[in-house]
């Protein structure tokens, strides 16, 4: 599907806007014109639970190209590739983030009101400091911004709102990443398979916690 608002006909767009106005007053207050808030249909109360869904299957994705580029750069600053697993953007996390902020449900609409202004802020801050968009910065430059906003409890007052955005964005990025097969493997999750017996913790686990 991947229908973006720009490809919508005028009547559909108008319908979205009207519905959005009714349900997303709070979010749009923070969104400052960061694109139309979504008003698509959810999956309803009786969806097919056995179907495997991709972002965009149920409601259209709405990141602009600029937002997508910044989103990808930021999620890879949070979860870069290392020797155990790939970077977040390499396993579909950007599409997931787009699905999340485009969803019609209240929690996601609220997050849209945090994430889109946050992405705009981070590009503006990059531009202010280095004259380039966040995605164009080198790792040290990205880290200089990241270090200022990565911990809401200790962030300087001028970075506190950005830090709240970063906390949300890190939770979404991490959730998107660690729910993929690569993310599960990174955590060494070894379940979700049928077993003949459940044997409890193995001896090396009991030894480590001092119970053996």
């Amino acid at each position: 599907m991947n229908t973006t608002p720009s490809r919508m006909d005028r009547r559909t767009a108008l319908k979205w806007m009207l519905a959005a106005a009714a349900t997303t007053a709070l979010a749009s207050r923070y969104a400052h014109g960061q694109g139309p808030a979504p008003a698509a249909q959810g999956y309803g109360t009786d969806p097919d639970l056995l179907k495997h869904y991709q972002p965009g299957d149920v409601w259209p994705l709405t990141f602009t190209d600029t937002q997508r580029r910044t989103a990808a750069a930021l999620c890879d600053v949070i979860i870069p590739a290392d020797d155990r697993s790939p970077a977040a953007s390499a396993v579909g996390v950007v599409d997931f983030l787009d699905e999340w902020i485009s969803a019609p449900y209240p929690a996601q609409v609220a997050d849209r009101g945090i994430v889109l202004p946050g992405l705009a802020w981070i590009d503006a801050e990059s531009s202010r400091r280095f004259g380039r968009a966040f995605a164009e910065l080198d790792a040290a430059q990205q880290a200089s911004i990241g270090d200022d906003i990565c911990h809401a409890a200790t962030a300087k007052p001028e970075f506190r709102e950005a830090a709240r955005f970063f906390a949300t964005y890190r939770d979404l990025t991490a959730g998107g990443f660690y729910t993929t097969p690569q993310g599960r493997q990174d955590l060494r999750y070894v379940g979700n398979m049928p077993l003949a017996t459940f044997d409890g913790p193995p001896p090396e686990v009991l030894r480590k916690v001092g119970l053996l």
């Binding site: 309803g44 870069p80 409890a153 459940f198």
Partner: protein
């Protein structure tokens, strides 16, 4: 198979059962296996766990990584269909929406109702729980003793399959030898919990849950359940043979395609259907119980939700098992010249003494559980251990400041990662990102434990439901309005939970994100949130002070029975489902006996 449409209704049935969950399922099971012709009405759609359950689907295969939404509040892969805290077109209201005064009502519109997603905790009420007023002067005694219900607890446990152990603890009844299935081995967090809570004097023992840790003994159990009834034994044997043992994967809340857990749809309904004595109409929203000129119940009117048309079914006996709230609503909506306050309500008590379970949660991060060697902790799709209430004597001596107890449930470990697994870590990581965050995620994964208290609520005058004077559902049926207030007993109990859980976390060497909440009013979950609503049509010995007798038979209308949680007159900290089933079986036995004697 006797799944029928309303145009195929027989002219009359021996018994009509409204609702297909724990109470309705058990009632229909018992009656049909005794040869009684039963019609079951279910407000939701048909549901087939064998083909509809997402057993191995992972969060990345669901929209929003499976996170809960208003459409699927417990997550995308939760079994609940057309349900949750709100149901489109089926409103309810709260008289007061303040925290602590609001009631939140979980419904599921599907065959089997809430038994498809429940936690499978299966605890017996003890003798104290049946005689609370005698013991501490509060609430109401049941018009029966533990000994009256014990044989039915035995039978239900043998039928549905419950794992657990006999620990000989106070007011925590043992089952007879051979009834319980083997408990699963504790997870590592369970073992630490047991060690450290034990030092605080809190016993941690095997949980009792309705999950088959081995296949049921289909060769011997049916004869114990249905002595002298070879036809029933054959049907139950076949149904038991159709259930597999747990294969140690998949959260039980998703339901179970291999029927390893109890759901009404995996245990009660298959043999009832196979008996040929059950007609089932789904999408049937009951509106009213009709009465005959002699004042006896004569049938049920219902809306076929697929067509919007109203139908009426006739029966000699009517059983309501629609959930406490819906059963009360049906009674109050069944008004007539003879019953102007609604049916079975000459006492004025229908809707009164609604109860839920006291709930409060606390979690900690346990350094000892960091960086553990990888191992599979999925287990039985839920808890393996719990802590039953342990301070009966201190409480009775007045040392605690609140009258009733709670048990402790534990959750955590290296489970299938979800959106929550790596969320909100900032307080332990100090805000790491990048490679350091990935190292932290590995380090902390599986090291969080959460503790939930589930406590007894004493019935009170301020917690009840009634018909909303204005709000109706989309078929024009008046909706319920809830009133709620916790007493100081529940509020202090919730504060006690917080302190206890913090003590346990400390004893384990754990870290807490914030200190325990000392104000119980802030710690306690809203009414209804634990989804254990019972009461609203309490049983008793005096028709002026109760709605039913000990057989769940209404005083005013002798051929009308309520076999869900509505007749409960206390709500122990034992989670109500097992007791609903035991009492439904007992009531159904009474219906069979009374029908044979032509008393109904």
């Amino acid at each position: 198979m006797a799944l029928i449409t309303p145009d195929k209704l027989k002219s009359s049935y021996d018994v009509i059962v409204v609702g297909s969950g724990a109470g309705g399922g058990q009632t229909a099971y018992t009656l049909t296996l005794e040869g009684i012709k039963v019609l079951m009405l279910e407000a939701g759609r048909n549901y087939v766990p064998e083909t509809e359950t997402p057993m191995f689907e992972t969060p990345d295969q669901a929209p929003l990584r499976g996170a809960g939404t208003p459409d699927k509040p417990f997550g995308f892969h939760d079994s609940t269909i057309d349900g949750g805290w709100t149901v489109p077109g089926e409103p309810y209201t709260s008289a007061n929406n303040e925290r602590g005064r609001k009631f939140e009502w979980w419904r599921a519109r599907m065959l089997g109702g809430r038994t498809n997603h429940w936690g499978r905790y299966s605890f017996r009420n003890g003798q104290y729980d049946f005689k609370p007023r005698t013991r501490d002067g509060l609430g109401f005694d049941w018009p029966m003793d533990y000994a009256d219900l014990a044989p039915y607890y035995d039978k239900v446990e043998m039928l549905i399959g419950v794992y657990g152990e006999n620990d000989g603890l106070e007011n925590t009844p043992d089952s007879p030898p051979g009834v319980l299935l083997p408990a699963p081995k504790p997870r590592v967090g369970d073992l630490l919990f047991r060690k450290h809570a034990g030092r605080l004097g809190i016993p941690v023992v095997a949980a009792h849950r309705a999950v088959l840790t081995k296949r049921l003994d289909a060769g011997n159990l049916p004869a114990k359940l249905h002595p002298g009834n070879p036809a029933a034994q054959r049907l139950v044997r076949e149904a038991m043979e159709g259930r597999a043992a747990c294969y140690w994967a998949t959260e039980c809340g998703r339901g179970c395609a291999i029927r390893a857990t109890y759901q009404s749809t995996t245990v009660h309904l298959p043999p009832a259907m196979a008996s040929g004595n059950l007609d089932l109409v789904t999408n049937a929203m009951a509106r009213e119980v009709t009465t005959a000129p002699d004042g006896k119940a004569s049938g049920v009117t219902f809306i076929d939700k697929t067509t919007g048309r109203e139908h009426r079914a006739a029966g000699r006996v009517i059983v309501l098992a629609a959930s406490s709230g819906e059963t009360v609503r049906l009674l109050l909506n069944s008004k007539s010249a003879r019953f102007p306050q609604g049916l079975a309500n000459s006492s004025g008590l229908v809707g009164k003494y609604l109860m839920d379970t006291v709930g409060a949660n606390f979690s900690g991060q346990i350094p000892a559980l960091e960086d553990l060697p990888p191992h599979n902790e999925d287990g039985a799709g839920g808890a393996h251990v719990y802590a039953p209430w342990w301070q009966y004597q201190e409480q009775l001596a007045g040392k605690l400041g609140f009258a009733r107890g709670y048990h402790i449930e534990i959750d955590g470990g290296r489970r299938l990662p979800t959106m929550r697994t790596t969320s909100g870590l900032e307080w332990v990581t100090g805000g790491s990102y990048g490679r350091k965050f990935k190292e932290d995620a590995r380090r902390y994964y599986g090291s969080f434990l959460s503790f939930s208290g589930r406590g007894d609520m004493i019935p009170n005058e301020d917690s009840f439901c009634e018909l909303d004077p204005a709000v109706k559902d989309k078929w024009g049926i008046p909706a319920l309005r809830f009133h709620w207030k916790w007493s100081e007993h529940e509020i202090r109990q919730a504060a006690h939970m917080q302190q206890t859980f913090a003590d346990i976390v400390s004893a384990m060497g754990g870290k807490m994100r914030q200190p325990p909440e000392k104000d119980g009013a802030k710690a306690i979950a809203n009414g209804g949130v634990i989804i254990h609503e019972v009461g609203g049509a309490i049983m008793g010995t005096d028709p002026a002070k109760s709605v039913t007798n000990q057989w769940s038979q209404t005083w005013d209308v002798p051929n009308l029975f309520l076999t869900d949680g509505a007749p409960f007159c206390s709500n122990a900290d034992k989670n109500p489902t097992l007791t609903i089933m035991a009492q439904a079986w007992r009531a159904a036995d009474h219906i069979v006996a009374e029908l044979k004697k032509h008393n109904l």
